[in-house]
């Protein structure tokens, strides 16, 4: 549109000419390179390749091994989806980890000490966390303060509350039973709760596969890997929903617009405040879901749960291609970022490598991802060199 430089005016008369000599053809490879998921996909390929070589015959890629790292990835993936959407919307939430600890307590205390049915306590937890997310979001939107500082406040407030409230109400900071009632029994006896949050799916298929000798079986005949844990199902479901909303819906366009340039979004009629607050609520709900699934899995709640999870979620989102400045990123990428986490965290145990290298690897991965994202944004997305 800078106008034809060479062609005479006669040929320039057709306004919608199919080609523009000023626009370079972009091949499919370059298109793939420009996708926000590219970094995480190549990272995942690399990580799988490394472990296939170093731990290929150690059982890491057996059914139990896969379930093992998939579970770790799934827990992180659930909060990474929320963190990614929020980051694409231009904000951060540093209170994710504290929210996890707090939510677990808010589930366990009413169920164990106040005699609430577990599903009621669960509903209470989700509503409470959603409300806290809304408070976080409203504070950021109303005051115009960076979300970094507002949610840092909640990072301390919620962690402190989990410890203080549980000590005040129960005298303990780790809750698994009270007066002979075990949390684990409450979980298994609450049909609604256990159907949604506890146990596995596809157990029949796994047993059948064990029967055919495809995967390892126990002495009794059932599969060694019981089935696909429900947390994995939640993770995949949330990733699919999050990815769909972002790419295909009006709400997704709003999230991108709000994160890309909040002022421009406002001037074109996007309800900026509502979008941002709702993203904080979604992130808080993801933290609550993490906590509920963890309580169901562990049979206990502890006030120090979820420590540093906010960082892991943000790192997964960044590995997944989300820009720290907002407006660009991918939910699917963030989930693949979480997968990388799970594979490395569990995979290292299958190799002879010292576990402490895990954190070194994470830091290096984060740095590489940020550098790569910045480069890609300049080079491909904005066409600069």
């Amino acid at each position: 549109m800078t106008g034809p430089d060479i062609s005479p005016p006669a040929t320039a008369a057709a306004p919608a000419a199919p080609s523009d000599e000023r626009v370079r053809e972009i091949g499919p490879l370059r298109r793939f390179l420009a996708r926000p998921e590219f970094g995480s996909i190549s990272g995942a390929v690399l990580v799988f390749a490394v472990f296939a070589v170093t731990a290929g015959d150690s059982g890491m890629f057996s059914a139990e091994g896969i379930v093992n790292w998939a579970t770790v990835a799934a827990f992180l993936g659930i909060i990474a989806v929320g963190a990614a959407l929020l980051m694409i919307g231009g904000e951060f939430d540093l209170s994710i980890g504290s929210m996890i600890g707090f939510a677990g307590m808010m589930l366990a205390i009413p169920a164990l000490y106040w005699g609430w049915p577990l599903w009621v306590a669960c509903l209470f937890t989700f509503v409470l966390c959603a409300a806290l997310g809304a408070v976080n979001g409203s504070l950021v939107v109303r005051t115009g303060l960076p979300s970094f500082i507002v949610t840092l406040a909640f990072y301390f407030i919620l962690r402190g509350l989990s410890l203080a409230l549980s000590t005040m109400l129960t005298g303990k900071t780790i809750l698994s039973n009270n007066e002979g009632v075990a949390l684990r029994d409450l979980v298994s006896s609450d049909y609604l709760f256990s159907t949604l949050f506890s146990g596995h799916v596809l157990t029949g298929l796994f047993n059948a596969m064990a029967g055919w000798g495809w995967i390892a079986a126990r002495d009794g005949g059932g599969a060694l890997a019981i089935g696909v844990p429900k947390v994995v199902v939640w993770w995949l479901l949330l990733t699919a929903i999050g990815g769909f909303v972002l790419a295909r819906t009006r709400r997704g366009n709003w999230i991108l617009a709000v994160g890309g340039d909040a002022n421009a979004a406002k001037n074109t009629g996007v309800p900026v405040a509502r979008v941002k607050v709702s993203l904080f609520v979604v992130t808080a709900l993801c933290s609550a879901l993490f906590a509920v699934l963890q309580v169901a899995d562990a049979g206990s709640a502890a006030a120090d749960r979820g420590l540093q999870k906010e960082f892991e979620a943000i790192i997964a989102a960044v590995i997944g291609g989300c820009l720290l400045s907002g407006g660009y990123g991918s939910v699917v990428g963030a989930s693949i970022g979480a997968l990388i986490f799970g594979v490395v965290q569990i995979g290292i145990g299958y190799t002879s490598i010292d576990n402490n290298w895990y954190r070194v690897f994470l830091g290096a991965m984060l740095l590489a991802a940020v550098l790569f994202n910045t480069y890609i944004r300049k080079r491909v997305a904005l066409g600069r060199r």
Binding site: V23, T249, N263, A265, G383
Partner: protein, 263 residues
């Protein structure tokens, strides 16, 4: 004394910010289908004037009429609903989003997916964006192209085409050519011509007489919050416009000092 020839009328409008008199009894009448250039140097009150027209500010004194009816806009949205669209200098475009996504930002077309669920109609958005831009003589090969890769002129054109598509009867353009090179500036001027040919009335804010003169039907000059009057093209020569804008005699002296500088 309203006149239906005029789509917008500001009658003796003043606007104060504390002790500052931003506008002092300004009268501006925009005829239907004309390009009305609003000229003035920095601090002349151009921004306050367009923000008043756009519904951001309510005038403290005087009257604002649209189609002969007095209006009191509480928000820019209300002005927009009457077809008064303002393209500000920041253009309200998101560089990291595609042409199609930007074109429909805040007004996304939707189609039914299943039951109560709707999705954004990306095909329609892409097709419409390309089509409407082509209508305005702008060629975009790929609606998925990211706006950040476009030049300043292309972005300006995109923002204007968007405003026209969403039903603008009056386009208020805030210094659309200010940051552009010669060729791109000309493209924007062409676009203003096209908009007028479609029957859209345009208020074109600029301090560049060379851009204003070729496309303008009438000119209003602002200086230090006051209107120096409105002139139709036949009434006033380009040099005279420039003269009044720059503060006449003062500028002449300065020019003489800066030896050899001519405009």
């Amino acid at each position: 004394m309203s006149n239906l020839d005029h789509i917008l009328e500001l009658e003796d409008v003043s606007k104060f910010f504390g002790t500052v008199i931003a506008l002092n009894g300004v009268t501006l009448r925009l005829r239907r289908g004309e390009v009305h250039c609003l000229l003035g140097d920095n601090g002349a009150g151009k921004s306050t004037l367009i923000k008043t027209l756009a519904g951001v500010h309510l005038p403290d004194k005087g009257e604002y009429r649209v189609d002969g009816r007095t209006v009191h806009f509480k928000s820019p949205r209300e002005a927009l609903d009457l077809g008064i669209a303002t393209v500000y200098q920041d253009l309200a475009l998101v560089p990291l989003m595609s042409v199609a996504r930007n074109f429909f930002m805040g007004r996304e077309p939707r189609k039914k997916l299943i039951g109560p669920f709707h999705v954004m109609d990306h095909d329609l958005a892409r097709r419409t964006a390309i089509e409407k831009l082509a209508d305005m003589g702008i060629r975009v090969r790929d609606a998925n192209q990211v706006v950040g890769t476009m030049s300043g002129g292309e972005r300006q054109c995109l923002a204007i085409a968007r405003a026209i598509h969403f039903g603008a009867r009056v386009l208020i353009l805030d210094e659309p050519t200010a940051a552009l090179g010669v060729r791109q500036g000309v493209n924007v001027l062409k676009l203003i011509r096209r908009a007028r040919a479609k029957g859209i009335s345009v208020i074109f804010i600029t301090h560049n007489v060379n851009h204003a003169y070729p496309v303008g039907d009438s000119f209003t000059l602002l200086n230090r919050g006051r209107s120096l009057g409105t002139f139709s093209k036949g009434e006033i020569a380009k040099d005279k416009v420039l003269d009044m804008m720059a503060g006449g005699a003062e500028m002449q002296t300065l020019m003489a000092e800066l030896e050899g500088v001519t405009i």
